[in-house]
Symmetry: D2
Subunit: 362 residues, 4 copies
């Protein structure tokens, strides 16, 4: 249940790590959008395993096949079925996991809930599921692009190595290094940290920051579907996500109201109303105010590590576990396109819903 | 739109700060539950303005009237309509706000979205709306209580005054002081800080921590309605909420996997599987694992302050604003019962949904 | 559960026949609509009991009170809470029903489902619940009116007395008689039939026909939310409804395709595409085609009759039942405004959803 | 939008008549169900084109491929992705339809709604979409079977040839003839009628009747998700469906209450409460009462006929149209398994929702 995300722009996803395929159905994509397959595949490539030395060595080409909803190169408004076949299903790598619950994984909870689980590579709980999110997010981005909305995420922290919030940077530098941090020297430190924890058979977490520009004002629906609430929901639904804040967030906890409030001012160029600061992260009263939407997502260290760990078997015996298989020492760099995808779907969904407001009598 | 929360246990809320009444409809409450009206009113009293010297001086009795769904003292499974009439509608206090957008409030975004707004006391965007949440949350708590599920929230940080995570405390001490912090000496410091910012005409934010005990295993629905995602959504829908994390959260960002993973062990007493640590906050793979659910919610400083602020009018002129009206210098103490209410509704909703799993063939 | 109707324009209803009040919350009504309270009350009066000699003698003024969502005479886009207090709660009339299941009523099924029921006047299963539908439908009509959409329902059959499908009539004649049939002589026969069955302590059913004009083309959502499917759902959710068809419907069952297909033609006046006939009832492929939407709803004879009937008690004994209380010998005339209300909400909801299509790239 | 059906047991479908594939995702299927692939394929075969001389001559093997959600022969509770590749895409047959709107088809309304359409064989509006419904319905049937719930549909009318309601018949005779009418002599007349209209290049409609046995009491959710409302919605969402009734339905329109009410009686065998008659069709107050659920679905004559018809082109010129391609002269026999599938999904969904009632305190 609940493998569907969104209300008017919807992704329904399916697929296990070592099953036949992962894929999904995108429902509610506006009609007439040119389907830039190269762009979509490129988004998938940004998420793909094996793309650099700091990611898992599992090799998958992750080629997407479209099954419906596209006609003569354009969307038709009908559901877009798609799939990516799993290639490197080295399931034998996981046969030894049949009988054991890996610490901080979903093995135990899935077994308790369903009484059965596909134990190969985490089955449905594998991050391989996010392929569907990236494909659907790519469609959302194609629609948003036409409205001028742009979404950029980047790695702002790995372990204790962090990018200063204040620091200016060029967005085109994000993809220039394998950790997806726009500052070359910070990126360098992050990569060294990841390599070090890997050499120890260990893992590390971090933070992805995201900016969304040019979102129309008034996006979000009071009182429960606040833009902030919908973003938090979207982000915490990503594997390994453990926290979320927007605007100045947790780092402003000691601020006073007089410091954190964003004063309104008249923009002298276009006479529009804007704010002097953006501690609100572009969201006030749960609705977009026209400023950049800014939020952060915390990811925990990868649960799979090569170091020996204590755990129990499904029959209730204490054992020592040493992970084989292939895994990322840090999920953060590959999480960057996933955060963007979830943000794109959330914002597009709320923009579509807000079209109803065009019926307001003014 | 989107004034309905939940899927099987649902609250639909209505009402403005200075309208006739605030209230709601609870749909999907199980039948046959004894309606402890004293408990429900007490929950409302914990949220009520004017309950202590550190909250707003607006005085409201906030007496709830039930309109349906209860027969001979018990729920019937039918929708429970309820309302709380607004008494102290000193709307004249707000007449001067008709023409101005208060900084970091919803005035501007509501006007942009709807082209009209009830400017009296924030109208629909007022935290007075949370009355409906507290009433519905009280019903959810009554149902959860029968299952042994218990929810406790408390103030863990105000400004830079924080309760140590490690510190043991007695839950019954939470309500013993007006800031709702279980440690008397920390509470004392928090209260002093709030009084100080108030004397400056300013405001301050903080953090509410929450623990949910005895949640059955396997609650939450992969892959989008993870328990963590649904809690994040619920919490970020509360007025002034700006962040969320669960388990070790942001404070564990520098941990390695080997430090953060929760080793499974056999509980020698009952032979059940449990974990040695609870860095996961009771949630693994998005599902409850039987351990305590632990999460935190960040609240920003109240946007309404008495200090003079720069802003603009609805016709686009720069003005100085000095708040009159009555307001809280810090929303955190009154947010405690609201966090509990949202947690109660979220968990009960997911428990009701998980009843379908009882049809699993084992 | 499921006391909410609609997706973007939503009614959540509450209330029992003999409880404190019936009412609801309308969520998603566009902002800026002038609230014509006289019109709304008049819609309620068309549904009200005791309005003519062929309806129940229960007297209720059914005055609606608005609690929120309206400011300075206009909708604000926020939820509209409303209630109608129950006045004539002669619950003693129903005390004898505490122990007995009335034939073809909901007493038995509610008891089986919930283990408890408010037995006074049918409780939640009473048609008194439809008050909320009529109020919400009146708001939907106010919005639709501005778009030029018009909804008219009328009684087309009572027992075996039927209005010929072919017969032309003037819509303003519908409300000129108490059975709401636009043909005076047919209406006369219908009224005589109703009076006769009442004198026998019996009841009778019939059919309400409905026409919706000026619905924009392309309303409805493939493949499950076809306009026809949504209308069928809405109509069958009304108490006592037992059937639905649209366009030529059941009466065309013996037609061949060549007879039933609606040929497209160019309207010479405006060069628009239209159809020569309208056997499709304005719906093709589940979407509106611009022609009049036409459908019918079948209502069964009122289950409550004065004639003696065999039934059983809740403890499982055979008894004879003679209804006291007050009841309609035929629900059809009072169902006319309810059918209109459900049609109005359905069409407005789908029009709001179709606003998303304005983002289609053409 | 709205290619998802159901709330807890959900089908999301995709695919066009002449695209790559049709398929879907089933979400919420209980875990641990043995997947009887032969049964599922057989259900598809009952729907398949070319199965007899009275259906279209299009030949498709309609082999279903499962992509996820099944592990070691059992469902895992995770989404079940599946697809059926289109084989006989003789799209050239449809090239001449690019420029023309076929009467009583969805060509015109899809073009108006989306500004683009896949004109090959009706694209998304083709009944080929129902493949996904039959697959998901087969899963629902497998689950229902374990609860003892059984669903049987059959052809009860073709044109003016009808099976008497009163007539007893053996269910195993339904599949013994190609029109799926359980009475051999009536079936014979129906087949002759279909062959005759086909020889005329014409088409004919009819009625499918359906019985659901052993549905637990109290299934359905007041007040909008009545079992009757949900069934009506499900049935009217099927291509070519134009009407629905349940129980005695339209044929009882002239009945009085005393004739139509179902008297409760004590079943002497098991002391359970049952009804003497079943004019209610197993549904009272919108909830199942334990008796057989009985309803009927009206289907119009196939819109595609070989006879010459007047229509217009997309550029607004009057033309004559003669269908080529392959089509059914009557959709009713192939609609039988589709009606069953939609009924199975609807009932299972409502049974899963009703699991929440197990939390009622009695």
């Amino acid at each position: 249940m609940s493998n569907t995300f969104g209300k008017l722009f919807r992704l329904t996803s399916f697929g296990e790590s070592h099953g036949v395929a992962v894929g999904g159905v995108i429902d509610g994509c506006p009609a007439g959008i040119s389907v830039d397959t190269e762009f979509i595949q490129n988004e998938l490539n940004r998420r793909r395993p094996g793309q650099s030395v700091i990611t898992t060595s599992r090799k998958e080409s992750d080629k997407v096949e479209f099954l419906s909803g596209v006609f003569q190169g354009k969307t038709t408004g009908q559901p877009i079925g798609f799939l990516v076949r799993n290639e490197q299903q080295r399931s034998a790598d996981y046969e030894h996991l049949k009988e054991v619950y890996r610490p901080s994984h979903a093995d135990f909870t899935y077994q308790m809930k369903y009484g059965i689980r596909d134990y190969r590579g985490g089955g449905r709980s594998s991050a391989r599921e996010t392929i569907a999110r990236v494909v659907a997010g790519a469609f959302a981005k194609l629609v948003l692009k036409q409205m001028g909305v742009k979404i950029v995420a980047y790695t702002s922290q790995i372990g204790d190595v962090r990018l200063s919030e204040k620091q200016a940077f060029a967005e085109h530098d994000i993809e220039s290094n394998m950790v997806r941090c726009p500052d070359a020297s910070v990126a360098e430190k992050m990569i060294r940290l990841i390599e070090q924890v890997r050499s120890e058979g260990d893992s590390i977490g971090g933070i992805v920051s995201c900016v969304i520009r040019n979102v129309p004002m008034g996006i979000g629906e009071p009182v429960f579907d606040k833009l902030s609430a919908r973003l938090a929901y979207a982000m915490l639904s990503i594997n390994a996500a453990k926290g979320f804040d927007y605007g100045i967030g947790f780092s402003g906890v000691a601020n006073k109201g007089s410091e954190q409030n964003d004063a309104f001012v008249i923009n002298e160029d276009d006479c529009n109303i804007t704010t002097l600061t953006n501690n609100s992260g572009g969201i006030q009263g749960g609705l977009s105010n026209g400023a950049d939407i800014r939020f952060r997502v915390l990811f925990k260290p990868t649960a799979t590590i090569s170091k020996k760990q204590s755990t129990v078997t499904i029959t209730g015996e204490n054992v020592e576990l040493e992970a084989r298989g292939r895994h990322d020492p840090c999920v953060v760099p590959r999480a960057v396109p996933i955060v963007e995808a979830m943000a794109a779907m959330t914002v597009l969904d709320l923009i579509l819903i807000a079209q109803k407001d065009s019926l307001n009598e003014r």
